[in-house]
């Protein structure tokens, strides 16, 4: 299904991240927050996969666990290196960390919080190269200039500090920093959520250009479905730490199979006064990942819930080619997609 995009670059299997809940003076573990609960997906080279879901669904933690910025509890991540080797990373075996980190980089949401205000733009962008002792002196300076030009900033400004730049320009600096190591996978964690709409379009266009020119693979984490539809080849919807549906973008938007996906789609206000948002909004609130409901986690809010949903957890299964969902009634439900 992903053959036209190239080989599998990243293979995530049964990834789990549990955070312990402690109580009492001995900090005894009394339970776990299952932030990421047994999720699996593949990412082909040159592809953009979006992880969408409400706050607290574990999408950011997934990205960070792949980078090993948080330690996963279980599961394995396999990454294909340029020379064809498959590097494995599991909670027990982290010996490939250094090599993997050069291939994966991350872009953050808040362009104000993610740049050190006491470092110049040059130092910020050059830092990854210095840490890995890949370049120095003249060579390093040339590399930084090249990166800044690539993201649409004038290299003359590289001795300035981040405060001299606008939100959109700062996000460009963040992109330059992420790309300076020549990574093949970029985890973009809500890269445009903090930006104004007109600037958001500039950054999204830049990300698409860079993907084409450099052959990048993106794991795009976002809650904004209209942005997701624009940027991604495939989408994975998360709910309380689990993936509930994955499909090629068009499919997911026009023929959602999981009621949660459909609820998310219909909740987006359409910027056209002639098309009214159709369905009634989803009732209730996101389940507590420390104390999730029985069966299907979505059943207390699901308008189609039946007895089986309360008792049995649905497993991910393929409905049509490339379109998988975790819902007992995926075949029976006729869910509307977005209009037009």
């Amino acid at each position: 299904m992903t053959t036209e995009l190239g080989e599998t670059l990243l293979d995530v299997k049964n990834l789990q991240v549990y955070f312990p809940l402690t109580a009492g003076i001995w900090r005894r573990t009394v339970g776990h927050v299952r932030a990421v609960d047994d999720i699996s997906f593949e990412l082909a080279e040159g592809e953009t996969l979006s992880l969408v879901g409400e706050s607290g669904c574990g999408k950011t933690t997934t990205g960070r666990a792949i980078m090993r910025a948080v330690e996963p509890t279980g599961g394995e991540v396999t990454f294909r290196m340029p020379d064809g080797r498959q590097l494995l990373s599991t909670p027990e075996d982290d010996s490939n960390r250094k090599e993997l980190r050069q291939e994966m980089q991350i872009m953050f949401q808040d362009p104000f919080a993610s740049l050190n205000p006491r470092m110049t733009v040059f130092d910020i962008v050059a830092d990854p190269m210095r840490v890995n002792r890949l370049a120095s002196g003249r060579e390093l300076e040339d590399r930084v200039s090249e990166m800044l030009r690539l993201v649409g900033l004038a290299p003359e400004y590289m001795r300035r500090f981040p405060h001299a730049f606008s939100g959109g320009q700062r996000q460009r600096i963040g992109i330059a920093r992420a790309l300076v190591m020549n990574p093949r996978l970029v985890i973009a964690d809500e890269p445009v959520s903090a930006l104004d709409v007109s600037v958001q379009a500039q950054i999204l266009n830049l990300m698409q250009d860079l993907q084409q020119d450099l052959g990048l693979t993106y794991l795009f984490i976002s809650h904004d479905l209209s942005v997701v539809q624009y940027i991604s080849h495939r989408v994975a919807v998360m709910y309380v730490g689990k993936i509930v549906e994955t499909a090629p973008t068009e499919k997911l938007f026009t023929e959602p199979k999981h009621p949660y996906t459909q609820a998310l789609l219909s909740a987006v206000p359409i910027p056209n006064p002639e098309i009214a948002n159709r369905t009634a909004p989803l009732q209730g609130e996101v389940a507590d990942p420390a104390n999730p409901p029985s069966g299907c986690y979505f059943h207390p809010r699901c308008p189609f819930a039946q007895e089986i949903c309360r008792t049995t957890e649905p497993l991910m299964r393929e409905i049509t080619e490339g379109h998988s969902t975790a819902c007992h009634f995926a075949e029976d439900l006729e869910l509307p997609g977005v209009p037009e």
């Binding site: 007109s198 600037v199 266009n205 609820a263 206000p269 056209n272 609130e285």
Partner: protein, 354 residues
């Protein structure tokens, strides 16, 4: 009926911030009116002055900011819907900020819902005490009755078990519930005008949909006018009757919502609408039309039309010289105000100026 009656008329309002670096003209000569029971959406990018406009109407702009010029005429309808009396009009901009008259209006006749429900509630008082405080101040009731009204309001905004929830602290409530409580507080005195400043920006999409639905229902039920400030064009399209588009402290376009989305006239509005990915329409193979450049810093406001450095239809020698005025460009007599030289026959002015 008085459906078309004017509730608020803002004339040439200017709110400036006097900083050491210079004067920031956050709201710079804004004129519009708002009818009773209507929802007007105010859109624009950050820094365009939409929040300061709201705060100016509420008269809660803090120094070094000050409304230096202009009128905010508030046509007060008769008390409690007995609209027999002639409306009494008051210039809010003329009242002392701390005077009793302004304090009587603020929080009772004109109320506001803020963006961050966590920051806008006091964390050390219960939700109930914060809601009843406003009721006790503005209505002639005793504590017990006020509590009853507060419980009733919490129920109407869809908070389950309001009798127990009323004694909880803001941190006990989720983001969506907190915003519901905020709305309950704003509506507890039956306002004529509710100003909602980015009421759903901090919320998830599904919660946003719930809150918007609730606001739509309550607006119809209470019959108040609403000023909805947002940067989300989807929210405006779904909620508003009229839309005001602001750029750098000025209104650039003001018309009804259908016209704005179907036939935008100002280049800024056009570009803004083109730059948003539209769910259901934008495809992965498409390309967004980004507006070139960024909003200029507040001290370096361009001469002439403030949008001219980013405008694709920039006319050298005119746009950077003449400051456009809001003119009605509608051909059928409805309201479609645009502030752009493309639509004004100002050629004559250029010659006389030169």
């Amino acid at each position: 009926m008085q459906e078309t009656d004017t509730l608020l008329e803002v004339n040439n309002l200017k709110t400036y911030f006097f900083l050491d670096e210079g004067v920031v003209r956050a709201v710079d000569g804004v004129t519009f009116d708002l009818n009773q029971k209507k929802v007007v959406g105010v859109v624009g990018e950050s820094g365009c002055g939409k929040s300061v406009l709201a705060r100016s109407i509420m008269r809660i702009v803090r120094p070094p900011g000050r409304s230096v010029e202009g009128e905010i005429l508030y046509y007060r309808p008769g008390q409690n819907g007995t609209s027999e009396e002639t409306p009494q009009n008051i210039d809010l901009n003329d009242l002392p900020i701390d005077g009793s008259e302004m304090r009587n209006i603020r929080g009772s006749e004109i109320t506001m819902v803020f963006q961050e429900p966590m920051v806008s509630f006091s964390p050390v008082h219960t939700v109930g005490s914060q809601i009843t405080e406003g009721i006790l101040l503005h209505q002639n009731v005793d504590k017990k009755e006020a509590r009853g009204i507060a419980i009733d309001m919490l129920r109407r905004v869809g908070i389950p078990n309001p009798e127990t929830r009323i004694d909880e602290y803001p941190f006990n409530l989720s983001g969506g519930m907190r915003q519901r409580a905020m709305i309950a507080m704003a509506l507890s005195c039956n306002p004529q005008l509710l100003i909602a400043d980015e009421p759903t920006t901090a919320l998830d999409v599904t919660t946003q949909a719930q809150i918007l639905e609730l606001m739509r229902e309550l607006q119809a039920e209470f019959g108040m006018a609403m000023m909805l400030i947002t940067h989300n064009l989807g929210v405006v399209a779904q909620m508003a009757d009229e839309v005001i588009v602001m750029y750098l402290g000025k209104i650039v376009e003001h018309t009804d919502v259908a016209t704005l989305f179907r036939d935008p006239k100002h280049p800024y509005t056009e570009e803004l609408l083109k730059s948003i990915p539209q769910i259901g329409r934008t495809r992965q193979t498409d390309r967004l039309t980004a507006i070139t450049g960024t909003v200029p810093p507040p001290f370096a406001r361009p001469a002439g039309c403030p949008f001219h450095p980013r405008c694709p239809k920039f006319m050298p020698g005119r746009c950077d010289v003449i400051e456009p005025q809001l003119d009605n460009v509608s051909e059928d007599g409805s309201r479609h105000l645009v502030s752009c030289l493309l639509y004004s026959d100002a050629t004559a002015e250029v010659q006389t100026d030169a």
